[in-house]
Symmetry: C2
Subunit: 323 residues, 2 copies
């Protein structure tokens, strides 16, 4: 089978490509080829399975048609404009996160092959005046444009699935931490950088108080859940193809304590506390008391501890020689 | 103030225009002008307030810009491809119900005047595996493309409101019955025609069993709720600008009994029972046990009885000489 990862140049897309290339199978079939597609040509991946890379702009239907071809069995749609940028550039957010999703689904529909489509939604679909805790029957009431666009993507995935055009499934990703690489324009970027940079021997800024609670998942477990998400039998998914991906709630203090438990006291000293009102405004609108019962019952999992997340970063991602 | 009704040629649009022209005020201000816009030039309305008509295709941003002008204070967005047609012609449904809504909101945003936008959503946003009864905190899980498009419209209304581009409010209309005029392509069309046609002395087909339960509102009360909906103070609306419009649940048998109570036994004899599987498939996916607590607390209302609905039809809409 052929697997296409749109957003294959991103952190999760690259890790998913590596995992699938190492695994060699998906949905009980051998993977013949993996294609990583992104707005800039993704970094190549080597493995036993051939991995191609392709430059695709999902805002352009012609460009999408180059990647979403009739021989593709499973499409991961991970590409998105992140929360902070979608908030500051509303037009760009809607062009990529809404129209881009439509373009991918329309091309999948045009194939007539009903490919599996795994859509990365976000816990940012939750917010506003809804009762806590957030469960499988909580309404989506996003308080950012990014969250609104992801909620619209879920409606599209359900509708295109119901019409028989795709076999869709969508997962609301927790905030991924510890995320490797550089800080990005996501409002949640600091939730990795306050750990990653200190673990790399670098200074970092924390823009919120240390009792700020949030809902997290490690990159490693996120990738495992995306693999499992593609493998769930369609008949087990019911009328709503979209659900919360499991994570766990921790405060900033708990994150830092976990880092200290794993890596000693020095990294925490590199964190500077500096309030950032615009970041606070966005992230404090997010819900954090989330329950992912449905995904857990379908075999997806959360990390056992945040110490695990820290260890995964050190094992999988920390540069060999800290700067 | 100037009021624009997009979908002003439709049944509710015409009645709303008439009501506003007779009322002469909205949101505590005198109405200087009403504009009825629709895909075909709407029927003119006479009243003390000047009423213009204009042909607008909401799928075309240039056309939208002709109607959504800087002097408009309140925009009613009632235009839509109805459920049955949006299901059979998916492209048309998305073009009008999603892209058309985006075009109207984008033009409203471009004005920079933050107009009030009253969006007609639908109870068709509900469906699938969610707990009954449906209340203000039930997730939207539409089982038709029409419902998906309306749910996306709600997300857009909330997002554009949150960004300060519009003062939006959206109301999920119950099924409107007794709806005057001709049958249309809505899957719910029979829920009026089995009453309207017999009250007009004509035969009608009922495609479902007589114990089929559904959630109804009269056109007269719907219009009152749309007027009230524009008048709710923004600060009373909270983080979700969209809500269920009140209605009441009745079975087909209760509808027919109400007709008999008001108009005698003859009309019911004109109903022929003939199962229509495609209509059944759509309407049986709709939820009917709905609670509109939030809208009721904001002053919107349902009909007291279905006898009232029948009487309103006879008073407001029945042709003078039944065919």
């Amino acid at each position: 089978m052929k697997v296409l990862i749109i957003g294959g140049g991103g952190v999760i897309g690259q890790k998913l490509g590596q995992r699938l290339a190492a695994r060699g199978t998906l949905r009980g079939q051998a993977i013949d080829r993996i294609v990583l597609a992104d707005i800039v040509d993704p970094a190549p991946i080597s493995g036993d399975v051939p991995v191609d890379t392709i430059q695709v702009d999902i805002a352009d239907p012609q460009s999408v048609a180059k990647a979403v071809t009739a021989d593709v069995d499973v499409i991961y749609l991970l590409a998105a404009i992140v929360s902070g940028q979608a908030e500051s550039d509303m037009d760009l957010g809607y062009r990529i996160n809404l129209q881009g999703t439509i373009n991918v689904l329309e091309q999948a529909r045009a194939l007539g092959t009903c490919p599996v489509v795994v859509f990365s939604s976000s816990m940012a679909v939750y917010g506003g005046d809804v009762p806590d805790p957030i469960g499988d029957h909580t309404p989506l009431l996003p308080q950012t444009s990014y969250g609104a666009q992801k909620a619209m993507g879920e409606l599209l995935v359900n509708d295109y699935t119901r019409k028989g055009f795709i076999d869709g499934r969508g997962f609301r990703l927790p905030t991924i931490s510890v995320r490797p690489g550089k800080a990005n324009l996501a409002a949640s970027s600091f939730m990795s950088s306050i750990l990653r940079e200190p673990l790399n021997g670098q200074a970092a800024i924390c823009p919120v108080e240390d009792d700020f609670p949030h809902y997290y998942l490690s990159p490693r477990m996120c990738v495992e859940n995306l693999v499992r998400g593609a493998e769930i039998a369609a008949e087990d998914l019911g009328t709503n193809r979209c659900m919360q991906m499991p994570g766990r709630m921790w405060t900033i203090r708990q994150l830092i304590d976990a880092m200290t438990a794993v890596a000693g006291p020095e990294p925490a000293k590199l964190i500077r506390w500096e309030a950032q009102p615009e970041v606070q405004r966005i992230v404090m609108g997010w819900k954090y008391d989330l329950r992912a019962d449905r995904a857990l019952s379908l075999g997806l999992t959360a990390d056992d501890s945040f110490e695990d997340n820290v260890r995964y970063y050190i094992e999988d991602d920390r540069p060999a020689a800290p700067a």
